[in-house]
């Protein structure tokens, strides 16, 4: 698995810097991304996915620049948006699944056949022609995950994948994710979710506040969050 390397990477939008001068190498198989609201977690995922370019510094997946070389980046990285409605592009389940494959160069007919085979393997063959608008939130999330997995990336970026899921759906998704051989970089809020990670990255106001194994990063994070929570908002 190739390391993901950020070197003095910054990310700004007009009038605001979202990420300041991040230098870090992510090499673990399970990586947790923590930080308060607005600390830049989602921006960091988008930077790694190549959806935005760094305003300074570099981002590399192995040797690949994910923003400039989209073709190579597609085989290396997949991103699951927080809201599946923002991710689904096509009106039916099979088209949604097939799209990524055609983007990797498969002919449409073959891509549709592969999509159907994947649904069959998951016991959901009857979903093939279903309209995506009829799926529940959890089902949409499952569809988005399958659409990315079909493209076979080495790394999955997950933006709060359990937000808005009911408990049984969350438990099922956790089990599916745990089984995946890919590298997972997951945005999380609860420290309990991160104890199994190889590495935890803590962002604070767009800067690196801590990086390392959970036992090293989490105590400081929990102490700081508890301290902040005890105060009233200014």
């Amino acid at each position: 698995m190739e390391p993901i390397r950020l070197t003095h990477a910054s990310c700004s939008v007009p009038g605001k810097t979202l990420l300041h001068d991040l230098s870090v190498t992510l090499a673990g198989r399970r990586i947790g991304l923590i930080g308060r609201n607005g600390s830049g977690k989602t921006t960091l995922l988008r930077l790694i996915a190549g959806l935005v370019a760094p305003s300074a510094g570099t981002v590399r997946l192995g040797e690949t620049d994910p923003f400039a070389d989209r073709k190579a980046a597609l085989r290396k990285i997949g991103i699951l948006f927080q809201n599946p409605d923002h991710q689904i592009l096509f009106p039916t389940v099979e088209e949604e699944l097939a799209f990524g494959l055609t983007q990797l160069g498969q002919p449409q007919a073959q891509a549709l056949a592969l999509a159907k085979a994947r649904l069959a393997a998951e016991g959901r063959e009857d979903w093939t022609k279903r309209a995506v608008s009829t799926l529940s939130h959890g089902q949409k999330q499952w569809l988005c995950l399958q659409a990315i997995l079909l493209m076979g990336p080495e790394t999955l970026l997950l933006d709060e994948p359990f937000a808005a899921l009911d408990l049984p759906t969350e438990t099922r998704l956790r089990r599916q994710l745990a089984r995946l051989p890919q590298r997972l970089i997951t945005i999380a809020h609860r420290p309990d979710d991160l104890s199994d990670c190889d590495e935890v990255l803590w962002l604070e106001a767009g800067r690196l506040a801590g990086f390392g194994p959970p036992a090293q990063v989490l105590p400081g994070f929990i102490a700081e969050m508890t301290r902040l929570g005890a105060e009233d908002a200014p």
Binding site: R46, A49, G50, L51, R70, K71, L74, G78, I79, F81, D85, H86, Q87, I88, L89, F90, P91, E95, F99, G100, Q103, L104, V132, S133, A147, I148, M151
Partner: protein, 200 residues
Amino acid sequence: MLSLTSPVETPAHGWRVGPKLLALAGLTLGLFLPAPGWPALALALAVLVAAALAAGRWAILAAWLRLFRPLWPFALLLILWHGVTRTPLEGAVILLRMAAAMGAANLVTMTTRLADLQGLVLWLMRPLAPILPAKPLAIAIALMIRFVPVMSDRAAQLAQAWPARSSRRARARLMAPRALAALDDADRVAEALRARGGAL
């Protein structure tokens, strides 16, 4: 148009989309060819009856008949005019020709799956491929089908958000939020496309 495709299967559902559209074009042309009064009336009536027969079952026939509603004001106008000018045969011909053309066109829409129409459009656009490549066009059509219901959902949400905090009617004031929401959606779609290869 999106919701017009009838889920009730009729004989016309099985006809291939290419010949079906070609036949519609031929029939419409034939209907409006100059012809003396009585034969023209007979032809228009025959087309109308044939369309009704092809619609077959009652479930779709009722829906098909409802689609004639927008024609009423014109029918009224024609009847008035041809009553005043005492030319009932000419009036009846125009009226039946209109009804027959509209009935046949609606039948085609109701019995043709959108995917088939899309396939046909893409096939017809092949000569234009150097200027207008087929793949982006196919994606654009699919995006339209996907996002028309999404945007109407969004509009419905906004229409509820207003009365939740106001006792006055929203009227035109929701136009700007709707437009902004559509732009927002467009941004997100662009990002989602890029995440999976975009214009590759």
